[in-house]
C-alpha cells in the first residue's frame, strides 16, 4: 500500500477515526460520499460528506465534530505523508447527522514519470461510470457504502483508470503544459499582424482601383 494521497486520506480519517471509537458492532458511518475536484496545476479540493446513525454520531461529535482543529491535526499527523493542505473546513448538520469536511491541497494529483497526472483511487472502489471529465466510483469500506466522484481539470484529456483493483489503482490523465503570461503577447501580436496584413491587402486593392472619374 502506498502512502495515501489527498483523495484517500479524508476517507481514511473519517473511517479510521470512527472505527477506533465506535462500538465494534456499529458501522462507522451510514454513507460516505467524496468529491475530488482537480485543478490543472495539480491542486485540488476534496469534500467528504458522512452520514451517521445516532450512536456513531454522538461519538464522532464528541471526538471531532466539536473541534475542527483537532480533526485537522489528526489528519495532519496521522496521514501526514504526501499531504500538504492549505484549507480545511468542517460543517455539521445536527438534524440530519451529517458532517462535511472540505480540504484544499496543493498536491492533490501526482505527476508520473511518464508525464501524465494521476489521482489514486482506493482499491476497494470500482468504476461505476464516467461522463466527460467526471468519474464515479463506489465501494464498501468497513461496512459503509461509499462513493467517490472525481472531477478532472477542464483541459484534461485521454483519461483512463490504471492498475484496476490493485493498491496502485489510479485515474490518470494528460494535461497541456501551462503557458506563461508572455504567450498572450505572442497570440495578440500574431492576430494583430494578421489583421495588419489584411488591412494592407485591402488598402493595396483600394489604391489600385484609384479614384473613379466621370
Amino acid at each position: 500500500m502506498k502512502p495515501r494521497r489527498l483523495p484517500e486520506y479524508l476517507l481514511a480519517v473519517a473511517l479510521a477515526v470512527l472505527a477506533a471509537v465506535a462500538a465494534p458492532a456499529q458501522p462507522a458511518a451510514k454513507s460516505l460520499d467524496e468529491t475530488v475536484e482537480l485543478a490543472a496545476d495539480g491542486s485540488g479540493t476534496v469534500t467528504v460528506a458522512c452520514a451517521f446513525d445516532a450512536g456513531p454520531w454522538a461519538v464522532w461529535k464528541a471526538n471531532f465534530g466539536d473541534d475542527p482543529a483537532r480533526a485537522r491535526a489528526s489528519i495532519r499527523y496521522n496521514l501526514g505523508a504526501r499531504v500538504a493542505f492549505d484549507g480545511f473546513k468542517l460543517d455539521r448538520d445536527d438534524l440530519n447527522r451529517t458532517a462535511t469536511m472540505t480540504v484544499h491541497s496543493a498536491v492533490a494529483a501526482e505527476l508520473r514519470p511518464d508525464g501524465r497526472f494521476s489521482c489514486p483511487i482506493d482499491k476497494e472502489f470500482r468504476l461505476v461510470n464516467h461522463v466527460g471529465r467526471v468519474w464515479f466510483f463506489s465501494g464498501n469500506i468497513a461496512g459503509t457504502l461509499s462513493t467517490i466522484k472525481v472531477v478532472l481539470p477542464e483541459a484534461a484529456r485521454d483519461a483512463s483508470l490504471v492498475d484496476v483493483g490493485s493498491s496502485e489503482q489510479a485515474l490518470t490523465y494528460e494535461l497541456p503544459r501551462p503557458r506563461g503570461s508572455a504567450h498572450k503577447y505572442l497570440v495578440a501580436g500574431l492576430a494583430l499582424t494578421g489583421l495588419g496584413v489584411v488591412l494592407l491587402g485591402a488598402g493595396w486593392f483600394a489604391g489600385r482601383r484609384g479614384p473613379q472619374t466621370a
Binding site: Y77, A106, R177, S181, G196, W204
Partner: protein, 581 residues
C-alpha cells in the same frame, strides 16, 4: 498618397510583429523558480524500530524521516530535479529521486524513508547525527544546487517514545500513545534467548499444543506454567513506574524498556518489560497475544488460536503479580488471582475508554518487526537458567557482547568506572602479601580476619578501616566494604547508587545481574559515565547479602579505555574473595 487602410495595416503589422517578438522572447513572464517549505524532519528515531522508518507502507507512510513540499513558482518549467539524502556515519548519499520536468505552478511532496543499517539497533546510548539533503535542479537554463542539514537523534535501542503527536494537539489517551506500536518491535519470539527460555518452560510443561489446537484450556494451562516458572526462577517486577503516567509533559513519555532477552538475563523487569517477555514467549509458542496499555500500567492477554482477538475473549494476566509486593500482597499470588486482577483492570479501564490493546501479530504484520539482535552465549544462559531452578551452581550471567563486552565473568568481574573516592591511590600496599606462585598474586587478609582475597600483580591493596579495603591500579580501583544496618543486597546497591550516581555525568545503566560472591548472593549493576575527573569510566556496583556477617558493598571502577586489558585481573581478584568461615 497612400490609402488610409495601407497605413492602418502597416501600423497593425508593425505592432503585431513587435508583440509577437515580445511573446517569443517571453518578456514579462516569471522565470522558473523552485521553492520549498521548511523541511519537516523527525528529530528523534527509535532504533528498536529502525525498520519502520524505511518502510513507506506502514501506517499510511507517516513514519517518514523527512518531508519537503516543493513548488515551481515560475511560469516556465523546472527541469532536471534530483533529490538525495545522507545520514552521517550511517547512510551514504542515496540514489537521487529524479523528476525530469516540473510544470509551471505545480507542487509535489518529497518524502524520505531511510534504510538504516542494522547496526543502529546496537546503540546503547542515544547519538546525534545529521541528515543531509541535496537538491539539484535546472531553472532558466542554469543548474542549481542546494544542501540542507538537520540534526537528528538516534535513540538507544531500549528507548521508547510513546507519543509522536505534538503536545499541543494531544487530547485523548490514545494520542499520548500514538507511537505505542513501536513497542511491538520489542516482542522477539525468535530470539534464541527467548527460545531457550521458552524451551525450559515447555520442558516443565511436558510440551504444549496451545498454539495449534489446544483451545482456551490449554492456553490457560501453559500460561499458568509460564507464570509458575517465572515465580520459581525468581523473576521479579522492579521499578515504581511502568508506562509513564504524567501526561502533562511529553518528555516523560520516553521510557527505557529492556528487550525480553535482557529481562531474561537480568531476571527482572518493569511491567511493560514483563509484558513484552510474556508476548514473546506466547508468540513463540504460537499463542496469539496482545499487550494492553492502560494509564500507568501494562499487562498481557493470551488468546487461543480458535478465538478472535476481542479483549473479552482473551485470558488477561497480571504479569507483575510474580512479585507479590508489586500488587499489594505479602504472600505469593497464585496464577488464578493474577488473571482475576488483570480482568478487573480490563473492566475498570474499558469503562473509561483509556485502554489500548496492541495485538502482536497484527502490528508486526504491519511492519513493526524486531531489530537484529547480537549473538549471545546461550550455553552459559542455559546454565544460568538451570541454576535458577536449583539445578546448577552459582549463577554467572552471560550478557550480550555489546552490553558487557564479553560473555560475563563470574561474580562481579566485569567492568566499571571510577567513583571519586575510589580513584587510585598507590601509596600503600595492603598487609600480608603471600605471593601465589602460579599467578604472581599476593594474598590479602582483612585485618579483622573477616575475609581474604588475592591481589594481582600491578594492584595495591590498602586497608581503609572498618573492614574495608581499597585496591588500586592506576586509575582503576576496587573498593570492598561491609555495610551495617542493611541485610539485603538490593538495599546495599541502592545506597551505593545514590552515593555515586550524582558524582558522574552522563550516567547510563548497562545491565543488572544476580551472581554469587564469596558464597553469598550478590546483586550487580553496571554503568558507564564520566567521572569527576572527566574520564569515561565503567562502574560496577554490587550489594552482597548479609549472612553470618554483615552485608557488603563493592565498587569496581576503571577507565573505559582500559576495560578490556584490566577486567581479567579484576575478575580473578573478585573470584578469589572468600569470607572467613
Amino acid at each position: 498618397m497612400k490609402h488610409p487602410l495601407v497605413l492602418l495595416g502597416g501600423l497593425c503589422t508593425g505592432l503585431g510583429a513587435l508583440l509577437a517578438i515580445l511573446g517569443l522572447a517571453r518578456v514579462g513572464e516569471r522565470p522558473a523558480r523552485l521553492t520549498w517549505s521548511a523541511p519537516e524532519v523527525k528529530s528523534a528515531l527509535m532504533t528498536a524500530g529502525y525498520k519502520v522508518y524505511g518502510n513507506r507502507n506502514i501506517e499510511e507512510g507517516r513514519h517518514y524521516l523527512s518531508k519537503i513540499v516543493f513548488k515551481n513558482d515560475g511560469e516556465r518549467p523546472v527541469t532536471g530535479f534530483a533529490i538525495s539524502y545522507k545520514i552521517d556515519d550511517y547512510i551514504e548519499w542515496t540514489e537521487p529521486t529524479v523528476r525530469r520536468e516540473i510544470p509551471a505552478g505545480f507542487s509535489f511532496v518529497e518524502l524520505y524513508y531511510p534504510r538504516l543499517p542494522a547496526a543502529v539497533s546496537q546503540l546503547r546510548n542515544a547519538v546525534t547525527t545529521t541528515l543531509r539533503t541535496r537538491i539539484r535542479w535546472t531553472e532558466n537554463g542554469r543548474e542549481r544546487e542546494e544542501n540542507i542539514a538537520r540534526d537528528i537523534t538516534l535513540r538507544a535501542v531500549n528507548e521508547i517514545a510513546y507519543c509522536d503527536v505534538p503536545q499541543s494537539e494531544a487530547v485523548l489517551f490514545t494520542d499520548y500513545f500514538s507511537a505505542a506500536a513501536f513497542t511491538m518491535t520489542m516482542v522477539t519470539p525468535n530470539d534464541p534467548v527467548v527460545t531457550l527460555y521458552t524451551s525450559e518452560i515447555t520442558r516443565l510443561a511436558g510440551g504444549t499444543t496451545a498454539g495449534i489446537a489446544g483451545g482456551p484450556d490449554e492456553v490457560k494451562r501453559i500460561c499458568a506454567i509460564i507464570y509458575d516458572y517465572m515465580g520459581r526462577t525468581g523473576l521479579r517486577y522492579v521499578g515504581d513506574s511502568g508506562v509513564p503516567s504524567n501526561f502533562d509533559n511529553i518528555a516523560s513519555m520516553v521510557q527505557t524498556v529492556r528487550l525480553p532477552r535482557d529481562v531474561i538475563v537480568n531476571n527482572q523487569g518493569l511491567c511493560i518489560e514483563l509484558s513484552l517477555l510474556w508476548c514473546s514467549i506466547l508468540e513463540h509458542l504460537g499463542v496469539r497475544s496482545a499487550m494492553i496499555l492502560v494509564p500507568g500500567h501494562a499487562f498481557v492477554v493470551a488468546y487461543s488460536p480458535d478465538q478472535g482477538m476481542p479483549l473479552a475473549a482473551g485470558l488477561p494476566i497480571e504479569c507483575t503479580a510474580i512479585t507479590p509486593r508489586a500488587v499489594g500482597k505479602d504472600a505469593p499470588v497464585p496464577f488464578a488471582e493474577a488473571v482475576q486482577m488483570a480482568a478487573q483492570t480490563v473492566q475498570h479501564w474499558a469503562k473509561d475508554g483509556r485502554i489500548i490493546p496492541l495485538e502482536v501479530q497484527k502490528i508486526q504484520a504491519y511492519g513493526f518487526t524486531p531489530p537484529e539482535l547480537p549473538e549471545i552465549d546461550t550455553a552459559r544462559l542455559a546454565e544460568t537458567l538451570a541454576a535458577r531452578l536449583g539445578r546448577g551452581a552459582s549463577v554467572a550471567m552471560p550478557m550480550p557482547a555489546d552490553m558487557n563486552a564479553a560473555a560475563a565473568p563470574a561474580p562481579l568481574g566485569d567492568d566499571s568506572p571510577a567513583p571519586a573516592p575510589l580513584e587510585p591511590d598507590d601509596r600503600n600496599v595492603g598487609p600480608s602479601p603471600a605471593p601465589d606462585p602460579g599467578t604472581g598474586a599476593r594474598g590479602y587478609r582483612d585485618p579483622e580476619g573477616r575475609y581474604t582475597l588475592e591481589i594481582m600483580p600491578g594492584w595495591r591493596a590498602e586497608s581503609v578501616g572498618n573492614g574495608a579495603v581499597a585496591i588500586a591500579n592506576g586509575e582503576s580501583s576496587i573498593f570492598i566494604s561491609p555495610f551495617s544496618g542493611v541485610r539485603q543486597a538490593e538495599q546495599v546497591l541502592i545506597q551505593l547508587y545514590q552515593q555515586l550516581q550524582p558524582q558522574f555525568r552522563n550516567f547510563q545503566p548497562l545491565s543488572q545481574d544476580i551472581a554469587g560472591f564469596g558464597g553469598r548472593r550478590a546483586v550487580i549493576a553496571r554503568y558507564t559515565g564520566i567521572s569527576p575527573k572527566g574520564t569515561l569510566t565503567r562502574l560496577s556496583l554490587a550489594g552482597v547479602d548479609a549472612s553470618a556477617g554483615p552485608a557488603y558493598g563493592i565498587i569496581v571502577s576503571m577507565p573505559l579505555s582500559l576495560y578490556e586489558s584490566i577486567r581479567g585481573s579484576v575478575d580473578q581478584m573478585l573470584r578469589s574473595f572468600q569470607f572467613a568461615p
